[in-house]
């Protein structure tokens, strides 16, 4: 609704009024977000280009199939859905804070900003768990010298290539050194008593190989090394946005509590913060799509 009648023949670009009828700060926030969208877009498109250029890529349902406290249960998509819903919900509380700001309701803004901050922290906690899980994971993969070794998922190692055939695995086991065989046999004994390692080390190579093959070891080729770099780079860049968004939200929460926006007569800062926070949610829609769904 117009608060002031606009005379006909108004020269919009002569200064003294906003051609877009939006404050300078909000226009600039939009343009910053547009440029940030291109940054994220370039990262994701680069990832897509590399993924399209190789014959085999890590299957997200195998890489991201675990859940905190669920042990080795195979739960594809479960944890990332939790993260997605946390972010959607914190987006809703943010837009509700903006809504309360339009109505100059300080208590309402405080309440919803607080919930938004909690959502952001919960998301960061989930991401920290997921990163730790990948970086400390133990997956048996074929090394370039033909032996088997235990690899985590890092920017330098990707154990998520194609599965080894049974024959390939047997010949790889023959050339795998003793310590690696012990370590591999040890990974198949999750939850076993602590003395197991010494008992395994005393076994001969052939006994270890027999034990590993009867336990049904799952071993893979190494995948393209770019996987870890793209995953940690892009989710890290997004996580950094979430982190900075949480910091900005905390500052706005304090300013709201101190009554700065009541003195100013409007809650437009909450709107601008909200734009940034929704953008973080928007980027997650595409990170979720590119890394976890397809």
């Amino acid at each position: 609704m117009s608060t002031t009648a606009i005379p006909s023949g108004t020269k919009w670009w002569n200064g003294g009024r906003s051609p877009f009828n939006v404050s300078y700060g909000k226009v600039m926030m939009w343009y910053f977000l547009m440029s940030d969208a291109f940054t994220f877009g370039a990262f994701l498109i680069s990832y897509g280009t590399i993924r399209f250029s190789v014959n085999h890529w890590a299957d997200p349902n195998h890489v991201f199939n675990s859940f905190p406290f669920a042990g080795h249960a195979n739960l594809p998509l479960a944890f990332v859905s939790l993260m997605t819903f946390i972010l959607i919900f914190s987006s809703v509380t943010m837009v509700l804070a903006v809504h309360e700001g339009h109505h100059m309701n300080r208590k309402g803004v405080e309440k919803y900003m607080f919930l938004t901050i909690l959502g952001g922290l919960a998301f960061l906690g989930c991401q920290a768990w997921e990163w730790t899980h990948l970086l400390t994971g133990e997956h048996v993969a074929l090394m370039s010298d033909g032996s088997l070794s235990i690899l985590p998922t890092t920017v330098k190692a990707n154990p998520w290539g194609a599965d080894l055939s049974h024959a390939e695995m047997l010949s790889a086991l023959q050339v795998t050194p003793h310590e690696q065989l012990v370590a591999i046999a040890n990974t198949l004994h999750h939850g076993a008593e602590s003395g197991a390692h010494h008992e395994l080390a005393a076994l001969s190579n052939q006994d270890l190989i027999n034990q590993i093959t009867t336990a049904g070891l799952h071993a893979t080729h190494q995948g393209p090394i770019a996987f870890g770099g793209y995953f940690f780079g892009i989710t890290g860049f997004h996580g950094f946005h979430v982190f900075s968004g949480v910091v900005i939200n905390i500052i706005m929460y304090i300013k709201t509590k101190l009554g700065h926006f009541d003195q100013r007569g409007h809650y437009e800062m909450i709107e601008k913060t909200g734009l940034y926070w929704h953008f973080v949610d928007l980027v997650w829609v595409f990170v979720f799509l590119c890394f976890y769904l397809i």
Partner: protein, 145 residues
């Protein structure tokens, strides 16, 4: 219906009307949640297809295209409703949306390029024959000599 009484700047002569209730916000929340659940269902369908003996690659591709479209729908609702871009005046909307259309070229050109690289990799002319996944590389005769 509360009228707009906040004066942000004297340069602004117009402010979108903000309705008193939050119905639209919650409707958008449910919409985003339902779309996400559909996406997850499709993701699980893809997972189950891949588990099978002979995965139907065309069906997988169709499902992947579907989740891409659903993600774009989610992006539209977040930007339009949550970020209130739909409430701004048309010129403002256009200065954001028109530059972003560059992405149409950006996505097509670069994925096409990636695909061309894979095709090259799988020929004799490929600069780096992929020895790691021999069983996955389609066998091609060197017909281009």
């Amino acid at each position: 219906m509360s009228n707009q009484h906040q004066v942000i700047s004297p340069e602004i002569s117009f402010a979108p009307e903000h309705s008193g209730d939050t119905k639209r916000i919650w409707r958008t929340f449910w919409l985003l949640s339902v779309v996400t659940i559909i996406e997850l269902a499709i993701g699980l369908a893809i997972y189950n297809i891949h588990k099978g003996a002979n995965p139907n690659e065309t069906l997988v591709l169709a499902f992947k295209g579907m989740v891409c479209i659903l993600s774009l729908a989610k992006a539209y609702y977040i930007v339009s409703i949550f970020m209130h871009l739909g409430d701004e005046i048309r010129n403002m909307i256009m200065t954001i949306v028109v530059p972003l259309s560059l992405f149409i070229w950006f996505v097509i050109a670069f994925l096409w390029d990636g695909n061309a690289w894979r095709n090259l990799r799988n020929t004799d002319a490929g600069s780096k024959p992929n020895t790691e996944q021999v069983q996955h590389a389609p066998v091609k005769e060197g017909t281009s000599h």
